[in-house]
């Protein structure tokens, strides 16, 4: 368990639910796998690439679009068969399909903001559905924190290396023995 954690965002998809927390030395990603949680860290000192992009999410749009179409189709069919008097039934059907219709329209209008943080060994991603301003803030905040952490680390390493620099002792070589005269061929 880590202390001083601050939730900065979540990333939910069809298959996984993740929460990204900021901890003093990096980002902690908690992946929910049914009733187990896997925790991984992307350390600030390892981050080398941070991206921010917007996307529709084709799978999500297709799924919500098809569900919306299904309910709208049934509502239209009810009005088509029963006439305009059946508008209450059509409204009820549209009401049931409203979450899917709203999700489809909201995604189409606002798209999905994704921030991806690439570390040397792992990556983290945070998704923002509606809060665009917050997404930009988090992107700027992560970049500033990483820059700060890496500058501090570079200074610390420099100081450490300066403190540990080996002192090279240049010792004088001992004098060479006097050259012996070459012996001539023995008589």
């Amino acid at each position: 368990m880590t202390g001083e954690r601050k939730l900065i965002g979540r990333s939910s998809s069809l298959f996984s639910r993740d929460a990204v927390w900021q901890v003093p030395d990096g980002l902690e990603v908690e992946t929910s796998d049914q009733y187990d949680i896997t925790r991984r860290q992307v350390l600030f000192q390892d981050i080398f690439f941070v991206t921010h992009h917007r996307m529709f999410g084709v799978g999500y749009l297709v799924a919500t679009g098809l569900i919306s179409l299904f309910f709208v189709g049934i509502a239209m069919l009810v009005i088509g068969i029963g006439g305009a008097d059946e508008w209450v039934a059509a409204l009820v059907i549209l009401g049931i399909g409203m979450p899917a219709i709203l999700s489809f329209l909201l995604r189409l209008l606002f798209r999905l903001d994704v921030i991806t943080i690439y570390g040397k060994r792992s990556k983290a991603s945070i998704r923002f559905r509606l809060r665009k301003q917050r997404a930009r803030q988090v992107y700027a905040q992560i970049c500033a924190t990483v820059r700060n952490a890496q500058t501090h680390m570079a200074r610390a390493i420099e100081a450490e290396e300066a403190a540990q620099a080996p002192t090279i002792l240049i010792e004088e070589l001992p004098p060479m023995p006097p050259e012996e005269p070459e012996l001539g061929p023995s008589p």
Binding site: Y35, D36, I37, R40, R121, S122, K123, C143, R147
Partner: protein
């Protein structure tokens, strides 16, 4: 999409195709493969150089050689098996130095607290048992499942407190679990009362 996964290098966040060095820069980048744009910031993390002392240069006091690297001087010994290890082999997560083999073992056992990355989500378990108790009330299961929800809720609250989060959710589960037990008892009482009334 997985939020934390092993990666091989910087990728396009749209298509996940690895980007070559020419495309890694700060600013707006258009992916050469999918032609979609994204904002990016590049950082240059500093590498911490590992200082390894060779036995030949270690001097008389550091002349013990590492058990895994014969040319390296040992800087410490493993606190679990006592093996002499060099700075390359030393694994220290704030709970003492371990050699790589012992580190793997204690990590697999789950006894090294700081190396545990997978744990049980008791709050989610409490929520599940609470809902199951409501669903299976008519099978007289709300009493044991309510008790389980209280147990998991309590453990979830302790877990949340340990990590500095709010324990409101787990405590709500504890209270609802208690209500579920009372509800289950009331249901059993009602059944007994109904049976006795029908017998009269």
């Amino acid at each position: 999409m997985t939020a934390a996964a092993t990666i091989t290098g910087p990728q396009c966040p749209h298509c996940d195709i690895p980007l070559t060095q020419d495309w890694i820069r700060t600013g707006t980048i258009v992916c050469p493969y999918c032609s979609r744009g994204f904002d990016a910031t590049v950082f240059h993390p500093v590498e911490r150089k590992q200082r390894v002392i060779e036995v030949a240069t270690a001097g008389p006091e550091g002349a013990n050689q590492c058990a895994n690297h014969v040319r390296n001087a040992a800087v410490t010994s493993c606190q679990r098996c006592g093996l002499l290890i060099c700075s390359l082999c030393e694994m220290n997560l704030g709970e003492g130095s371990l050699c790589p083999s012992c580190f793997d073992r204690v990590r697999a056992e789950g006894t090294l607290r700081t190396a545990v990355t997978r744990y049980r989500d008791y709050t989610a378990l409490g929520r599940l048992t609470l809902i199951a108790g409501i669903v299976f009330t008519f099978f007289f299961l709300s009493i044991p499942l309510g008790a389980m929800a209280m147990y998991y809720g309590r453990k979830g609250a302790l877990q949340r407190r340990a990590e500095g989060s709010s324990a409101f959710g787990p405590y709500t589960i504890v209270v609802l679990g208690l209500l579920e037990i009372f509800g289950g008892l009331a249901f059993i009482g009602f059944i007994i009362w109904s049976v006795t009334q029908a017998g009269k």
